[in-house]
Symmetry: C2
């Protein structure tokens, strides 16, 4: 009875998959935040290296992975896929549940899949330092690691509330050589403006993005790096899905259902895009489902329209499912899913009807996470507990119907830095938040109207 489906080093994909050319319609263009006109490569050059800008707008179906990036991928890729025998037994379900586990990366999540090429291309173009924002610290950790491997400096603005409450992620970044600031900081005009208004500001991802962008834009040796949302980020993550396709083929399985959690969309896109390619080509026909937190339900409740990627409105405008760029989600423990918008590419694919979505409250997710830990051993991060909860819902439906569905999910990271959240759950202190319709309605009022 096989549990772990293992690939060899030679099975690591040598190309990333770009889903855009295969879609029936191209995604809408990115607009300049000031002029509302489509942006060109030059507009983005102060923030990103040209190689990544070209990937962002690429019409090629496949992009070669550089050898230097593959050499780093080998440190943890191919990642294992597991059959969840013990979880199935606990659920008494006829469904067969598989999970692709990205927590084996040194940073403990899928994030290094894109941090590594981003650091590589920047180093190739002579960039000396990358800036970025981080909330709980998963993305900052991944970029700190990638910068250490390519000899880049790394400067991270961490949301003040996390900086104070979760010191271990900060030390992890520092161990890899990064410099970490609490955001808002007095190092930027954006940060100083916030601090003047509120010296005790707990910060937000939006403010941290503004600080990281401001520092990068002012110095030609510095660029900015984003860990989700953008096309090239999702493309880098397709190594997950390409490996998963090979692993399913090895054991002669085809998924009936794919489920992935969605925050900015990179984990979901990484798993699902290669399967969507096969679905569009008629080679398989899985249902593909996004799972989002009920407290921040951009796909199931958000409006599909142009909005800013950041709170301050400095970043380009993208057409996406949004709750409003200055909407502040409730403090759910899945910090990686607390983003006001959804990746424009995932939003577009959702509009095309290629994927569906559901929203789940956090208590059900942690309940699923604890059951998963006690059966499968691995302690999942709060973000993928959303996907696990959705898989369990489906497995329970299979128990009712008797269907032997094959369910595949992405376990995008472990929860070693989220034990305070598990502690709160075990102590019965976790609460569910109602859908914040008034806050969202107010935030949507502040989104500028842009003609499509």
């Amino acid at each position: 009875m096989q549990t772990k489906i293992t690939l060899n080093e030679s099975d690591i994909p040598t190309q990333w998959y770009n889903i855009i050319p295969d879609l029936p319609e191209p995604p809408p263009p990115v607009l300049h935040p000031g002029t509302h006109q489509p942006v060109g490569p030059d507009d983005l050059a102060p923030l990103f290296p040209m190689a990544l800008i070209l990937q962002e707008v690429s019409q090629e179906s496949y992009v070669d992975i550089p050898g230097e990036v593959l050499d780093v991928y080998k440190m943890w890729r191919p990642t294992p896929m597991f059959r969840a025998h013990r979880l199935e037994k606990a659920l008494d379900t006829p469904a067969r549940i598989y999970y692709k586990y990205e927590g084996v990366s040194p940073a403990g999540s899928h994030k290094p899949n894109t941090a590594v090429p981003q650091a590589f291309y920047n180093s190739q173009e002579g960039v000396k330092k990358l800036t970025t924002e981080t909330g709980a610290g998963q993305w900052g950790s991944a970029l700190a690691l990638a910068c250490a491997l390519f000899g880049l400096e790394c400067e991270v603005w961490q949301v003040a509330a996390s900086f104070d409450l979760k010191p271990y992620r900060k030390i992890m970044m520092e161990t890899w050589g990064a410099t970490v600031h609490s955001s808002p900081s007095d190092l930027t005009s954006a940060g100083r403006a916030i601090l003047e208004a509120d010296p005790d500001s707990p910060g937000s991802l939006g403010i941290a993005i503004s600080e990281a962008i401001e520092v990068a834009a002012q110095d030609p040796d510095i660029r900015y790096s984003l860990g989700s949302v953008l096309n090239h980020v999702l493309m880098h993550q397709t190594v997950i899905g390409e490996e998963a396709l090979k692993q399913m083929a090895l054991i002669d399985e085809q998924p009936d259902l794919l489920v992935g959690c969605t925050g900015g969309g990179s984990n979901f896109g990484g798993l699902s895009f290669p399967f969507l390619r096969e679905k569009m080509a008629g080679n398989m026909d899985p249902t593909v489902r996004c799972v989002e937190p009920a407290a921040c339900p951009s796909l199931t409740k958000g409006e599909y329209r142009y909005d800013f990627g950041d709170t301050a409105g400095m970043a380009p405008m993208v057409k996406m499912h949004t709750l409003g760029h200055d909407f502040v989600p409730e403090p759910i423990h899945a910090g990686g899913l607390r983003y006001h918008g959804m990746s424009p590419l995932v939003s577009h694919i959702y509009e095309l009807g290629l994927v569906e979505a559901e929203a789940i409250h956090q208590v059900e997710c942690f309940e699923a996470g604890v059951l998963f830990a006690r059966t499968e051993g691995i302690l999942p991060a709060p973000e993928p507990t959303h996907a696990i909860a959705a898989a369990i819902r489906e497995a329970n439906r299979c128990k009712e119907s008797g269907e032997e569905k094959v369910i595949l999910t992405a376990l995008c990271g472990h929860g070693h830095f989220d034990l305070a959240s598990y502690g709160a759950y075990l102590a019965g202190e976790l609460v569910d938040y109602d859908y914040p319709d008034e806050a969202v309605a107010a935030a949507m009022e502040r989104v500028p109207v842009v003609a499509d």
Copy 2:
């Protein structure tokens, strides 16, 4: 250029290796703590299931791994072996450095390799609950996981200082369903006696062992479980070395040097015993080196004589390298290496001249750990940084001599729960401790003299 040497599920060893029959002399017997006479299986029956007692004294070279245990091993085994290309480059050494990585287990260390069979055999014999002690929490986590998988209750006494300072390991154990007490506790007479004398006692591993043993000995449904030191524990860990032998063979390499950190000896024994078998058979001739903390140097400074396994003198007496059963090591950050004695089997093999030993101070170890993290990505636990530091010493000697030595080490766990220690190192707050000759001399005075 291969980085990760991967095995398939079918390569997981199906037998544990028992080195004892292959040794030129048998190890000395275990003695009853009161009578100083050799103990028999019945003496140990209140604490351990008969299957493990028989393994402890087995004269068979190989013991079959039960299918139920293999099914759990498949959750993370075979573990990867890595070539440390980036570390070698940073050191500019002609040496080739390999490491076998056990941090991929759900508990993050090699400990589940023995926790799982221990839980299995206990469940087979109808035991309902296991008790144990834990310091920083690596062993307690592993046993909590194993008990969850075999439907056993698990009760852990965690040293009070760790219980208060490192709450995340406790929550991890609780997430897997264990009950965790701060030790000394008022649940045992041993604990109450300590608390009466000192209500604010920070506890010790010795006290926690006494509490766990006391509870197990009083109830036929409860047994006690130990995470290192004993023969059967080291034997369970030989899956590490058996896999490493296969991985070295896959790439046509033979180690010139094996280095492993030694606390209770289970990680070192697990890696090295299969290689020592090949060495004794004349198939290879590696140097095999134990690395211990300079603050707790049982092999390099301790006396080889009979002593108690626990502080209170309730546990059987074993012949081992010891610093005295009530010697309290300085608070070094490698909590897993703060044991007053060395596994009797490793001690015996050291006396036979099959292995050598060196002691290293912790600042050098953390320096090695940070270099390792910044080159190899993985953030090591403080314990294996001792082995990494020793490997780096050897690689630097190779740089001087030009020798292309093949160095193999065991990276027995990640440091995700040790970031406070890395923070202290990065802040320059870590200190080295001198060899505590006076404290050891005083402790050795209190060891009863037993005729060999």
